[in-house]
Amino acid sequence: MLTDQRVIDYFTNEMVLAKINSREDTALANRYKVSAVPTLIMVDQIGQEVDRIIGYRPPQALLQTLNHYRQGIGTLDDLLSKAKGGGDRLLAFQIAGKYKDRGNVGEAEVWYDKVINAAYPQDSLSGEARMAKASVLRRAKQYDRAMDIFTGVMDDFPQMPFAVTAELWRAIIFRQQGDTASAIEAFEGFVEHHPDAKDAKYARKQIERLKGQPQPGGN
């Protein structure tokens, strides 16, 4: 990306680019609650966040988003001001996503709940919102709450692709909680129910790894 002529021109004339090693400057990474890389955060001269982009984007799309952010288009502030005029569930979902990306668990939850509570709980946007909310809670280590939501999604959306993802996340949460036996059982269930899923290979690897670990109380 850095060798693209449009990117060179942009960071020569329009914006300052700071490449920060998040392992070395942990204070700055923590200040902006960076939980994944690459994370690009546009800030003003005093460090106030305008907005952020998580993950890779091709040069043209990246520069377009940055230009929008400079004009105040599509930022969290922009979406919040639109929501004051009423807004809809999709707007609420976008706002929740912005808070999620910023690691603001409380606000993300509030806005995902607006999406979930404003309609029939089994419509697909509600399902997406429940998945995203569970993901926020899991990252915040609120494992029990996340587990309840993933289980609910599996029950309410048995035919939707994200129900498969929910089943995998349940297994991962068991592993994160240190409950090896339940994690193995859940990963095995996943492989049995979805042997051709793209994550089945990952699940099999987890089973192998967990079975290789010493079990609590074992010799």
Binding site: T12, I20, S22, L28, Y32, L40, R70
Partner: protein, 67 residues
């Protein structure tokens, strides 16, 4: 200059020309990435802030991790 004295010089000249041609053929069609011009950047936030204040620009912080 006699033929026997001129021959080594001619061979040497030929070798230099041939080596040049081989090198030119082996040169990659594109400039290696390491030699290409890159977007200007700084690696600490304080410097970025100073530059941004001087130019009245925003800053894009690109958080990365080695490996």
């Amino acid at each position: 200059m006699s033929f026997t004295r001129a021959l080594p010089a001619a061979v040497l000249a030929c070798l230099i020309i041939c080596a040049g041609m081989v090198t030119a053929q082996q040169a990659p069609a594109e400039q290696p990435a390491a030699d290409k011009p890159k977007a200007p950047l700084v690696t600490d936030f304080a410097t970025a802030q100073a530059l941004a204040a001087e130019r009245n620009h925003y800053i894009l912080i690109d958080f990365w991790r080695p490996g």
